[in-house]
């Protein structure tokens, strides 16, 4: 083999080594940039979440600290045993719960045995299109509480419950439902339209999740979870706690 051939081969090897070196450097830089992209995405996620959380919020009349700071609202009664119900006005099982236990709970309230606390949630916000009916309805319930009509208005919301997957009830309809239970004041209509208590509902959501509530309806009697919240089980639990 000639010396020229050796020289050529050596030159080519050097060129290839340099090219491989360049490639490695570039690969490293690309990886660093991509890793930064992922880190920045994570930081953006956290920042967006933080910015969405209101620093303060308005709470409706009758708000209580059962289950967390301003996490509930007194629906009825002032008896010694506290019955807490986590509910979503879009959830069919919550409507069934309300239908099957309303008489029992009314009687327990009339007998001055219980204090009934509601935690109106927006867990099913995604289940309407446009999203957000659960939170709007819960906020409207807060408006009703201001006029002392929470349980009546809540019953009306369940009686007129829209189907999951539907658009939900619009604000006009939410206001209209207040009429038969005595919510005729312009302040109620304005409160519903403004979504005055939406941020409060967000607080109820957070406090519920923090407590480990992942579904509706969830019922506690004096802080004890009732696995099967039937009328009979509720009565038994209240009797046991009295």
């Amino acid at each position: 083999m000639s010396k020229r051939g050796d020289q050529k081969r050596a030159n080519r090897m050097v060129r290839e080594q340099l090219a491989a070196e360049r490639r490695r450097t570039r690969t490293t830089w690309i990886s660093v940039i991509a890793a930064l992209v992922l880190v920045v995405a994570a930081i953006i996620g956290w920042s967006v979440y933080r910015s969405q959380r209101p620093a303060s919020f308005a709470a409706p009349a009758g708000v209580t600290d059962d289950g967390g700071t301003q996490a509930g609202i007194v629906a009825a009664g002032s008896g010694p045993v506290t019955v807490e119900v986590y509910l979503d006005f879009l959830c069919p099982h919550c409507r069934d719960f309300e239908a099957s236990t309303a008489d029992t709970l009314d009687k327990l309230v009339a007998d001055k045995k219980i204090r009934l606390v509601w935690h109106p949630l927006g867990f099913l916000d995604r289940a309407t299109s446009p999203a957000g009916y659960s939170t709007r309805a819960a906020s409207a319930a807060g408006c009703a509480a201001n006029a002392g009509k929470l349980s009546e208005y809540g019953a009306a919301l369940f009686a007129n419950q829209p189907a999951e997957g539907s658009a939900g009830l619009n604000d006009d309809k939410l206001i209209e439902l207040g009429g038969p239970v005595g919510l005729n004041a312009p302040s109620f209509a304005q409160c519903v339209r403004n979504g005055t208590y939406k941020s409060w509902v967000g607080n109820v959501n957070d406090k519920a999740a923090q407590r480990g509530v992942n579904a509706t309806p969830t019922v506690y009697v004096n802080g004890k979870l009732i696995e099967q919240p039937t009328a009979a089980n509720l009565t038994a639990a209240v009797t046991a706690a009295s």
């Binding site: 490639r23 570039r26 690969t27 690309i30 990886s31 940039i33 991509a34 890793a35 992209v37 992922l38 920045v40 995405a41 994570a42 953006i44 996620g45 956290w46 967006v48 979440y49 933080r50 969405q52 959380r53 959830c91 069919p92 099982h93 867990f123 916000d125 995604r126 999203a131 967000g202 959501n205 957070d206 999740a209 923090q210 480990g212 992942n214 579904a215």
Partner: protein, 166 residues
């Protein structure tokens, strides 16, 4: 391997890899996009697995959707393919572990993979089997891509091989 077989594989592999890249990219972007609209709900979905302290679940719920979208965009562009595929594989393995853990403990939840989440209502059936199979299939794709990161129509190819579509 004989010369001819190797050449054939070298011809096919970049096409297989670009397919894997695009499938993963679409899944990540869809999964992330379905959750960014309600980050509080995303946190609750993580919390429903009952694996992490509440505050950490909320943090992951806020961060994961954006991470998923960023991974999807990297894969779509074919930028840092090996890194993006490796991170995808780790994330998918974590998801598989999470769902399996819920399954084994007999909990009944919505995985919240594409939004939603939380405990299932009475009468709703968990989908752990199909969710696990889906994630294992995606994990296989991510693993393949991490090993065979060279693909057609990638930024990596342009930046590293000077415009050769490899």
């Amino acid at each position: 391997m004989d010369g001819v077989g190797e050449t054939r594989w070298e011809g096919i592999q970049p096409w297989l890899s670009v397919a894997a890249r695009l499938i993963l990219a679409v899944i990540w972007i869809a999964a992330g996009a379905s959750k960014i609209g309600d980050l509080a709900a995303s946190g609750r979905a993580v919390n429903a697995y009952r694996l992490l302290p509440y505050d950490l679940a909320v943090f992951l719920g806020a961060v994961l959707p954006f991470l998923e979208i960023a991974l999807g965009v990297l894969l779509l562009l074919g930028l840092a393919t090996r890194l993006a595929a490796s991170v995808s594989a780790v994330l998918l393995a974590t998801y598989i572990g999470g769902i399996s853990s819920v399954w084994v403990r007999g909990l009944r939840i919505d995985c919240g993979c594409f939004g939603g989440g939380g405990d299932l209502a009475a009468g709703q059936q968990p989908q752990y089997f199909s969710e696990t199979i889906r994630d294992i299939a995606l994990l296989a794709l991510a693993g393949f891509l991490a090993v065979f990161a060279r693909s057609r129509f990638s930024l990596d190819g342009r930046l590293l091989d000077g415009g050769h579509h490899r």
